[in-house]
Amino acid sequence: MRRSSTLPAQRSPRSRSWRLLPTLFCLTLAAGASPAAEAPEGVGVFGHLTQAYGKSRRGSIQGTSEEGTTDLRNVAVQLRWAKSDRDTVVVQLSHERRGEDLFSPAGDEVEIDWAFYERRIGVHSVLKVGRLNTPLGIYNEIRDVGTLLPFFSLPISFYAGVLSSAETVDGVSIGRTFFPRSDWSLDTELYLGGWDTFQQQVSLDAKFGLVNLEARAEDGVGVQIWLDTPVRGLRLGAGTLTWLLDGPLGEPGTRDRWDTYHVSLDAVGERWLVRAERRRWRFDQDFGAFLALPVSLRGKAQRDGYYLQVGVWLTPRIGLFGQIDHAGLKDNLDLLPGLENLHEDLAASLNFRIRPDLLLRVEYHNATTRLPLGLPDLPMNVGSDAVDARWMVGGLSVSF
């Protein structure tokens, strides 16, 4: 039986033990006291922690609020056991809070982020089985690691939470590197499996005018490829992912098909970076069920998004980054007019790298958006004009 809830929803019915949280924090602090060590055969302990404060000028967006909130954090501890050169087991526990973020509903629990067994096959191939972090674009695998990100939150256009994508996959993957000695080496990864996700439904009683309904992505098949180039620090990527969504908004016995594909440019120098990604989703949707109408209005929707990030390290410690993030949505029934420009965000962040593993950051966003902001008079933000939204986030990230 499906469970509906207003935001923030429980992220998944996985592990929900509050009692694990203090243990996780203690492990983080204890492991942070000394550098992580890794022997060819043995156990490695790693972790990261980000705590931030966010404040918006109007409404709630990306977890921020008008009153200001410190309910923005993530912490993870990774245990890595290398049984041999070929066999490795990786388990990562995490706790995440994103305030009242519409796209990343999260609970208070500590959950198993990943848990997989890795077997190296031959020299250039790797097989993984279990709950895997999904290789999708530049940031998906490191989406919570504050010390590695130029901004606290990832671009909405590409990484809009669990609703439209897969942070992890319960299944299997096979990766292979082709032409490893060439300047044009090619990394490929194919993965199969399913994951917990959500569907959203209009509910005028809810803060954002929407409720999240638990759903399951099944029969997912994805590919990610990265092409290294002779230009040091420049790589080009592309990928696709297709799955069937089994959720409460579909007719019993039917599943909606979702497809997404993307391209990436990742250029990182000693003192600068340029990153850009573009992504498109296509999916079937019963818009009648989405709008909570008593009729079925089956149609097709397409979401497009792109972002560009540029940055420069003015000194070895101080980095300045800029970002433009654009998302659009359209459907073949014209039930969602005006959403071709769903969200456009211009952002800047100032990073102060105290140490390689300790980063202080403050960022500012100025967006024109039709995303629900939870405004009392306009919860779903479906007025004729897009709303100006401005918010800032400041915080500290550490990893070890």
Partner: protein, 140 residues
Amino acid sequence: MSTSRVLALLAFVALHATAEAADPVVVVHPSTRVLEVSKAELSKIFLKRLRTWADGSLAQPIDQVPGPVREEFTQWVHGRSVVTIEVYWKRMIFSGRAVPPAEAADDAAVLDFVRRTPGAVGYVSGSAQLDGVRKLDLRE
């Protein structure tokens, strides 16, 4: 010979000597059949993007703890700072892909590991005594 020429010659010798002293020496286990590698290839081996030598045998890199030798090697081979490489390893770790090579405390520890481990490759300062290991030539 004029004074200026003598000074220029002395300056050249001094610079050359400094460069010789600063360049780390890459060492491998004596059984390694590869005689030379490119910097790009060695960089990939130390970043674990390449796991074998050209003859197919397993490469086992060992790093040094942060210090002058590592800084010199990192800039020389990777063309990057130590901080940048550390950030690279954080990315590898937290994407669940790989962990960095083990770190040796000093030249002696590197030489000890390389001497004992077939396929091993490490680097030491130019002044280290290379007993029981073989120097690996690098090409651009």
